[in-house]
């Protein structure tokens, strides 16, 4: 079953990313530690969404895009005042 293989690769990829993110925290990269950790978290989220959650079709993507846009509004307009 190729589906099973896909899921297994996804799973192993997630564990690898976990190792990477934990490992990176022991290396001092200055401000890049934060960026790297968040980028890895985003990569993991995308892996989960695409492989495990089957994020396909217009409507589910619409829902995700809307939430993303609204999060940008929430964060952006709260932080401009600071």
């Amino acid at each position: 079953m190729s589906e099973l293989r896909k899921l297994t690769f996804g799973y192993l990829g997630l564990l690898a990313l976990l190792a990477l993110t934990v490992g990176s925290s022991f290396v001092a990269l200055g401000g890049f530690n934060v960026a790297l950790n968040l980028a890895i978290a985003a990569a993991k989220a995308i892996l989960i969404a695409m492989l495990f959650m089957h994020l396909t079709g217009t409507l589910p993507r619409l829902a995700v895009a809307a939430a993303g846009l609204w999060l940008v509004i929430l964060f952006g307009l709260t932080l401009i005042g600071r």
């Binding site: 079953m1 589906e3 099973l4 899921l7 297994t8 996804g10 799973y11 997630l14 564990l15 976990l18 993110t21 934990v22 925290s25 022991f26 530690n33 934060v34 950790n37 968040l38 890895i40 978290a41 993991k44 989220a45 989960i48 969404a49 492989l51 495990f52 959650m53 089957h54 079709g57 409507l59 589910p60 829902a63 995700v64 809307a66 939430a67 609204w70 999060l71 929430l74 964060f75 709260t78 932080l79 600071r82």
Partner: protein, 211 residues
């Protein structure tokens, strides 16, 4: 109606599409909830970065990492359940669901151990418990631990909800027909993966950032 749960739909396929969409809308809504909490953390982090970094070092990285792995594994078994349900292999589906819920319980146990450790070390500023923190800037370290307990317990509540729903689904397994089984596995799966994604962000934000 033939095999649909709601009178509104004429075919199970249309109903499943609507279900999936509804779950995604719900996930979008949940994302706003956690987004707001993350925003609170971010604002505090901007203001008190060094104090937060020092306090963050007192959390247990090994247990946090273990828990992340546990939760990722539970997502994997949930994805397996989905795949198996699509092929109508119901018995293995149940086992995959049981494994998912069991891993969820594992996560909660580890989290409980962590909480116990933090409370005994005097790092839990809750319910008037003594807060004994030796590092610099204890006031803002207390703030960090307040946020830590808020965020992780909110996440744990979502996980408990997921476990309860999986348990209920298994309890009602026999009377529900194949169409309903698949719909429920898909819907619960989406929720479970979302709770996993939240943890995927919470873990670096709480345990790793500025170590």
């Amino acid at each position: 109606m033939s095999g649909t749960e709601s009178v509104a739909f004429d075919t199970p396929q249309r109903e499943r599409r609507a279900d999936t969409f509804a779950m995604w809308v719900f996930i979008g809504s949940e994302a706003m909830l956690f987004g707001a909490i993350f925003l609170v953390f971010l604002v505090a982090h901007i203001d008190f970065g060094p104090a937060f970094a020092a306090a963050s070092k007192r959390l247990s990285l090994p247990l946090g990492t273990l828990n992340t792995a546990v939760l990722i594994t539970s997502s994997f078994t949930m994805a397996l359940a989905h795949m198996l349900a699509l092929h109508r292999r119901w018995r293995p589906t149940i086992w995959a669901l049981v494994a998912t819920a069991a891993l969820g319980v594992c996560f909660l146990i580890v989290k409980g151990i962590e909480y116990g450790k933090e409370i005994s070390e005097g790092l839990a500023p809750l319910l008037g418990l003594p807060f004994r923190y030796a590092g610099p800037d204890p006031v803002h370290a207390e703030f960090f631990f307040g946020l830590y307990f808020t965020m992780t317990s909110l996440h744990a509540l979502h996980l408990i909800g997921g476990i309860v729903v999986i348990a209920g689904m298994i309890a009602l397994w026999r009377p529900s027909g194949p169409a309903n089984r698949l719909r429920r596995v898909v819907a619960v799966g989406l929720y479970w993966h979302f709770v996993d994604i939240i943890w995927v962000f919470m873990f670096p934000v709480l345990y790793l950032i500025n170590r």
